[in-house]
């Protein structure tokens, strides 16, 4: 009798312990790959710290997102994928998904529903650009200028970038064709909706390069997001493009004499993918993390630390003030109506088809 009781008690105990440690089948350590700098810091505060506290998992940060595609390919070939969750831009996610290197996600099944009762797929809407991509933020590539170097008439249009007479001096542009080609055409009189049609033709490409030729001698080409803030702070360039969060930090945190030029800002998406080929425990852990980190509240929380817009519609009303500066963040979001008066939509499919070709042409043009 006594023995039976003990046995039953033990069984009951072990049963409860199984339910209590429901994530016993998940890995206790995970490597999260992101971009580093202020962006990683915002993820640390908004996602990693609360998740680690909740589950006791150890999170290791790797700042290799810039070479994520190449490294994931190599890891897959070597049969040793060491990453659990990877932060990539949407175009990289599409490539990884096409190559079968990323796990396909069923948004409604595997992601949290919105706080306002909408399903995940409704909440993310058009931003679910790939089956493997879990959107996190909307950022934009936009321009900033030195308020003390532009005279009495600060620029209001992206075409100031091409206007050497009104705004003499150096400018910094990204060392790749994306965005620069579109802006060149826009400022050469091409209508916004025709840009990609024009860019498809050889004449259109020649037109864009000819426009870029007019400022080529006055351009510093950047490849890292930190370059333009450094150049603006130095006064080496009058204006330059970079990610809007970098300009926010430069203006509001570093108090440099710089202002935003939101005109024709190009939206882009950044989000998570989970590499294909993880062990079941690690995959379960990664899915659990991603479900947590992309819920309505968590996405809104990230906006406390960096001026990137949350990817869920339901997060927008929850965006509050900056964690240390105490300023309202809504007006610094690229998606704020005041900033988004004139935006340019980056065409993923078009660039997926033309990227290799235009990259080569752009590099050849640079070397001329």
């Amino acid at each position: 009798m006594k023995l039976t009781k003990t046995l039953m008690a033990t069984t009951a105990l072990s049963m409860t312990s199984v339910t209590a440690f429901a994530d016993g089948h998940m890995a206790s350590e995970m490597t999260i790959v992101s971009w580093g700098g202020a962006y990683s810091a915002s993820q640390q505060a908004a996602y990693h710290d609360p998740y680690a506290e909740m589950t006791g998992v150890t999170i290791i940060n790797d700042e290799s997102s810039a070479e994520a595609v190449a490294k994931l390919r190599a890891m897959n070939e070597a049969g040793n994928v060491t990453w659990d969750v990877v932060d990539v831009v949407a175009s990289d996610a599409i490539r990884l998904c096409d190559e079968g290197l990323a796990l396909e996600i069923d948004a409604d099944e595997q992601l949290a529903p919105g706080d306002d009762g909408s399903t995940a797929s409704e909440d993310f809407g058009d931003l679910l650009v790939s089956d493997c991509f879990i959107p996190q933020i909307v950022y934009s590539t936009t321009a900033g200028y030195r308020t003390d170097l532009v005279g009495d008439t600060p620029p209001t249009s992206i075409c100031a970038m091409f206007d050497l007479e009104a705004y003499p001096g150096m400018r910094s542009l990204e060392r790749r064709p994306i965005n620069n080609m579109e802006w060149a055409l826009l400022c050469d009189g091409v209508a916004k909706e025709d840009v990609y049609d024009v860019l498809e033709t050889d004449e259109g490409q020649a037109q864009a390069f000819a426009k870029l030729d007019t400022i080529k001698d006055n351009v510093v080409w950047w490849s890292a997001g930190a370059d333009t803030p450094q150049l603006l702070a130095d006064g080496e360039v009058v204006m330059g493009t970079t990610y809007n969060g970098r300009l926010f930090a430069l203006i509001e945190e570093q108090k440099q004499p710089v202002a935003m030029l939101w005109d024709a800002q190009v939206f882009d998406l950044d989000g998570w993918i989970i590499p294909a080929g993880l062990s079941p425990e690690r995959e379960a852990r990664a899915l659990d993390y991603v479900r947590f980190a992309t819920d309505t509240q968590r996405l809104a929380d990230q906006a406390k630390y960096i001026s990137y817009g949350p990817a869920r519609a339901s997060s927008a009303p929850l965006v509050g003030q900056h964690a240390t500066l105490g300023i309202d963040m809504a007006q610094h979001m690229p998606t704020d109506p005041e900033n988004a008066k004139n935006t340019f939509l980056y065409n993923y499919e078009w660039w997926a088809d033309y990227r290799d070709d235009l990259d080569a042409k752009f590099q050849a043009w640079l070397a001329q």
């Binding site: 790959v33 580093g36 290791i60 290799s64 890292a224 930190a226 370059d227």
Partner: protein, 409 residues
Amino acid sequence: MTVALTAAEVAAKKDNLWGFTIPITALFGAILGILAGQAAGLGILTGLVAGLVMGAVIAFVLCRFLPRRTGRWAAIIGFAVLGFIFGQLGGALAGAICGAVLGWCAYWLHSGDYRAGVPPYATTRQVLWHNSFLFICGFIFFFLIAPIIIIIPLSFNAQDFFTFTPEMLALKAEGFSTKHYEDFFTNQDWLRPMRNSLIIAPFATVISVTLGTLAAIGLSQSHVPFRQTIMAILISPMIVPLIISATGMFFFYSKMGLWMEDTLGISKSLSGYIKVILAHAALGIPFVIITVTATLVGFDKSLTRAAANMGANPVTTFFKVQMPLILPGVISGGLFAFITSFDEVVVVLFVGAAAQKTLPWQMFTGLREQISPTILAVATILVIVSILLLTTVELLRRRSERLRGMSPG
């Protein structure tokens, strides 16, 4: 003889100030003027002309009217005051340096001291070459050292950019801060890589030195077959481009890591360290082999035979006779191996996982993602550590040589 010659020359030059001292001093002034004009934002041409005129005036005034010591101080103070008017404390410092250079230059030319280093019978061309040679040496030294020196003041920047702010140039206290050093010593993002580097580099060094020394001794034996081939293979990590070795190592160590984790049951973190340490050891071995082989050339083989003759076994012979004599080579090889591992970024990027992130890796990502002067603070600390390390090794080496009576003094 020398005195008579130079005295005659000095007498001739006193009359001919315009033909020699003034033009050359003016040339130096122009070079400094270009630099100063650039720094002050006046433009190259303005700086050049101003420097030219000032150099000429300095040469004329100093050589005609003032004795050497007084004249040089007058030049320093005069330029410092001029600099202070334009650029406050920082300008004064720059001015004082310009004054010192120009003052020295004027007297050096005028007094004939530039002939001091050559014999009195040297022709004009020989004198010219001698001095040009010294200047070229000076410039090479300058270009080697200037990029390292420049980061030191920048690391005390009060701003978060790689920029000499106006406050810094004026040497005002608010332009400087030690916050980037504080960041380094309090931020886990920097402390963890530092700890990793300090774990990986010593282990890699010990392995490189052990294997490299043994290889060098073995390869110095005349009866070893295929010596050249083996040597070439062992040295190859130094010759093959690093990125190629790194790619190969990535695939090799990925498989090996899986094997260590699955078959041997080693934890993921430990196997990660083992992978990086082995990869770095492979990179360090060539340096040890080369330095030890070089010292073995001067090693007298009859000593080992003498030791054997007295009944010592090969191991005792190695540790008691050979090792002390080739120790300088072993130490400098070890130092190279240590620095290779400590500075290495390509291989660790491929082979290591995020848990093994080393200091150069963190600096690399930091430079790409966030241009933060903390990197400069780290660089400054590393420069100082390297200097201390090299100085210590050199002092120890001299001490041991002195103790063994190999060098006088």
